[in-house]
């Protein structure tokens, strides 16, 4: 069911989420990238890599609550 690689990726991903919620996108990016490297089929890691990169360039507002706001649409 859940492969060993996936399990490792999910743990790395969870560490990344901790940093992400504290707005430390640089550190979060390291963990999401490591997770995606461990399991290249792990789409959530891929999604959060992109979100980190976007937030490093354009930091979210002060009141950001960790929820990704869709800009387009």
């Amino acid at each position: 069911m859940i492969t060993e690689a996936k399990r490792k990726a999910i743990k790395l991903f969870a560490r990344g989420r901790d940093f992400y919620k504290k707005r430390d996108f640089q550190e979060a990016l390291k963990y999401f990238s490591a997770a995606f490297k461990t399991d290249p089929t792990d789409e959530p890691s891929n999604v959060f890599i992109a979100r980190c990169q976007e937030y490093i360039d354009n930091p979210p507002d002060e009141g950001w609550d960790g929820v990704y706001g869709m800009k387009s649409k």
Partner: protein, 243 residues
């Protein structure tokens, strides 16, 4: 206000489509997954406010997924997301097991959509109420900590000030040496008191900041009811049956 995100995990596409149409119309953001594994990925990607889960599914069953979310440390971030489980089996044992695992509600198929909506509403409201209780507890703890600091400060301020009063009463102003000594004592006490006051000020400021953000997240019970009523005002127009 952010729209509530509801994730539906069901291997029957017709159920997904039905929920998608109905719940979107009621103002929810609807996320969908056709099996447990895809469901887990959606949970990690979107962190939904509620999960509606079919019990019997290929790959990862509803039970297995619930167990992982509630017990596995790698998923601890998602442990508090409320879960409503669907099942075609009306077995008491299954229901009890489900509730023991930590699900919030259990619905037997075939179901009536109005009933499902009413249950979604109840689960979301209960969850919001628990969150509000936690917020208020945090605020109480903050106030408590400030009170303790104030008591500590007043207790420790009294002795040095009384000491200064005593020294000042006993002071012989014609004796330059004792005046110098007294001045030194005043300086030392003043410095210490100012340092303590500075610390207290910092604490008050920190408390006010976190208190502000806690208050901002707080809702009155009336607001809470309005919030849920808004989602369900179309309930009667949209009621229907689903297998």
């Amino acid at each position: 206000m952010n729209k509530k995100k509801i994730l539906i995990i069901d291997d029957e596409q017709i159920n997904l489509d039905f929920f998608d149409v109905m719940l979107t119309r009621l103002g929810f953001v609807v996320l969908m997954a056709v099996d447990g594994e895809e469901g887990l990925e959606m949970i990690r990607e979107h962190v939904p406010d509620l999960i509606i889960l079919d019990n019997i599914m290929p790959r990862l069953t509803g039970w297995e997924l619930t167990k992982m979310l509630k017990k596995d440390d790698a998923y601890s971030e998602y442990r508090d997301i409320p879960i409503i489980m669907f099942s075609a089996m009306d077995a008491v044992k299954d229901k009890i097991e489900g509730f023991e695992l930590g699900i919030d509600d259990y619905i037997i198929k075939p179901f009536n959509f109005s009933e499902v909506l009413a249950r979604i509403r109840a689960v979301l409201r209960n969850h919001e109420l628990s969150r509000q209780v936690l917020l208020r507890e945090k605020r109480l703890a903050l106030t408590d900590s400030l009170n303790k600091s104030l008591i500590y400060f007043t207790e420790h301020l009294k002795t040095p000030v009384l000491g200064l009063v005593e020294a000042s009463n006993a002071l012989d102003t014609s004796d330059l040496k004792s005046v110098e000594k007294f001045k030194e004592q005043v300086m030392i006490e003043a410095e210490q008191t100012l340092a303590a006051l500075g610390g207290l000020e910092d604490e008050v400021q920190k408390l006010q900041e976190s208190d502000g953000s806690l208050r901002a997240a707080e809702l009155s019970l009336g607001e809470l009811e309005d919030r849920f009523r808004e989602h369900f005002k179309e309930l009667h127009e949209n009621s229907g049956e689903l297998k």
